[in-house]
Amino acid sequence: MTLVLEAAVLGILTGGVYALMASGLTLIFGVMRIINVGHGALVILGAYLSFVLWRNLSIDPFVSLVVTMPVMFVLGVILQVVFIRPLKTDREALSVLVTYSIALGIEGLLGYFFSSNYLQITAWYDTASFPIGDFRITYVYIYGFLLCLAILGAIFLMLYRTTFGGAIRATMLNRTAAQLVGIDVDRVSAIAFGIGMATAAAGGVVFGITNTFNPGSHYDLISRLLTIIVLGGLGSLRGAIIAALVMLVIEDITAVVISPVWASFVFFVILVAVLLVRPQGLFGLRVRERL
């Protein structure tokens, strides 16, 4: 029982990290109506950036975010402007291929510079732990969770308390209408993509401390993140956050109760079950297309 409880607590804490990564992904979908298949690769890229700063300059991984988040933000804006904005016809399909290609390119570059050996970022807080009841929790999970909570909070503040956030929400609701009322949708899209990348950088750091990773790790990650945002309902931030927490708790409990090798499988089982009952996801609105 203690094991299950421990798994549940760990699930919530890691779920926070997935919530952050997934909210970047669902934000990008909401604003641009594209699926960024490269999101996992960008998280891994974030992990490598922090890894380099930590290994070569001994910068604490959490502190390195001060550098990596702005860098990834700018990279995101560039990627959007160069590769996504030019897509005029058949955007939905082509953007999947473009972002997939970006993922392959990043995987290849990382493989070229770092080989495919597994790496992990280490710090004192990834071994030190403190007791809660019958079990101990490593500090990094708490720090990671708090970091993600802070960033998610900042995103929500930005969305609901600033004019620019209003423009983002308007674009998410209806792209054409937003354009009609004078919102620069291209600019909003570029910045939203940048924000998505910045969250990927933050997620990447925590992922890089709590997991070993190599350039190919993005495949597993992106299939989880995509499953989460489908479950939460495409374009729903709240849905993505709740789905991330629920999924990670279920996964961690499965790992304890059944077996770790089957833990990832529950993602698919739940995805199938949810789609059978609610094809639009848990929180998604049923989209009536052009009727």
């Binding site: 979908f29 109506r33 699926i35 298949v37 590769f83 030019p86 897509l87 005029k88 016809t89 058949d90 939905e92 399909a93 082509l94 999947v96 291929l97 473009v98 997939y100 290609s101 970006i102 392959l104 390119g105 995987e107 290849g108 570059l109 493989g111 070229y112 495919s116 350039p215 495949y219 597993d220 992106i222 299939s223 995509l226 499953t227 945002i229 489908v230 495409l234 090798v261 089957w262 990832s264 499988f265 993602f267 698919f268 995805l271 199938v272 789609l275 059978l276 094809p279 996801g281 989209v287 297309e289 052009r290 009727l291």
Partner: protein
């Protein structure tokens, strides 16, 4: 209308010429390096053509077709092992069975995946592929897990080794093209194109969209499963991450986009251009993984410079030339 007949005759002659050339290719150039490249190119001609039936005609992009590819390979491998079939020509007889099993599984996956519209469908296919990979790794007692699954050894040696596989892949590519061609000309195919253009409108004129989509998905997956099974026998030892390989899945998609989405010959053209290029890159840069970077650069260039693919772009160019030809058919104007 003579012009139309001329065009048809020209097409038929060209087709016969290409087919003859592919039939005798191993006799012209029997070295295994060439035939190996030919086996893989034909494999992708088949894969891209099969993918196009779902992604091109119906407009539902599947990034999980590598799952069907791998499933077909495992299905054949397990069948051969269970039935103790020895290496030789006999395993080829079981290829349709592997295809049928793949089709059955696709029917199951499609049953729920096609409840969703395009955006969610893409995601479900990706998730499906990785779950299949996971299953292949975890069901150790069945698949051998990460240790891999062996096929019976093909008895052929030297330059002849590739030849049976060459003809098997050729047969499947021709089968795929025949299926694709007959779908394109049928009322069913027209229904698929209608779904791609406007699914609700298609429903309003009686197209049973769900049954049509599912059928296209199953046909597409069955072809891919058969090709995967031949691939498995060709490489004789398969591992989860190399046979349920996302790169195979994305490659067939990009070939279709390069050649021309939803056209009959686009996938063929895309495969004939990209697969040799991919093999060349893997051969020269494979060790450094730089080939992935180059490959992705090729993709990005293709998508940005020619988003509609070669065949539609060229077709438009020709139409434009014709239209601007001065007073060519002024008398025929209505």
């Amino acid at each position: 209308m003579n012009r139309l007949r001329d065009k048809r005759v020209l097409m038929a002659v060209g087709l016969v010429a290409v087919l003859t050339l592919t039939l005798v290719l191993p006799a012209i150039s029997p070295e295994s390096a060439t035939t190996n490249m030919a086996v893989f190119t034909l494999m992708y001609v088949g894969l891209a053509t099969a993918w196009n039936i779902m992604g091109g005609y119906t407009g539902y992009i599947s990034l999980g077709h590598a799952g069907f590819f791998g499933f077909g390979a495992y299905a054949l491998g397990l069948l051969l092992a269970r039935l103790s079939i020895a290496g030789g020509y006999a395993p080829f007889l079981f290829v349709p069975v592997a295809g049928l099993l793949t089709g059955l599984m696709a029917a199951g996956v499609g049953w729920f995946a096609l409840r969703t519209r395009a955006a969610t469908f893409v995601i479900v296919t990706i998730a499906f592929m990785f779950m299949l990979q996971l299953l292949a790794e975890n069901l150790t007692s069945l698949t051998g897990g990460g240790a891999g699954l062996g096929f019976p050894n093909p008895p052929w040696r030297g330059d002849f080794f590739n030849i049976p596989f060459y003809y098997a892949m050729l047969a499947l590519a021709v089968l795929g093209l025949a299926v694709s061609w007959s779908i394109r000309r049928s009322k069913f195919g027209l229904g698929l194109l209608a779904i791609r253009d406007d699914e609700d409108k298609a429903l309003a004129v009686g197209v049973p969209a769900r049954a049509f989509k599912l059928t296209a998905f199953v046909i597409s997956a069955t072809l891919v499963g058969m090709i995967g099974s031949v691939y498995g026998y060709y490489v004789t030892f398969i591992y989860p991450q190399f046979v349920v390989d996302p790169l195979i899945g994305i490659s067939m998609v990009l070939m279709v986009f390069l050649g021309g989405l939803g056209t009959l010959w686009g996938p063929v053209l895309g495969a004939v251009i990209l697969e040799p290029a991919q093999l060349w890159l893997a051969y020269n840069y494979g060790a450094s993984r730089l080939y992935l970077v180059l490959y992705s650069a090729v993709f990005l260039l293709v998508i940005l410079l020619m988003p509609r693919g070669i065949i539609p772009s060229v077709r438009d160019l020709i139409a434009e030339r014709r239209a601007s030809a001065p007073a060519a058919r002024a008398g025929a104007a209505p």
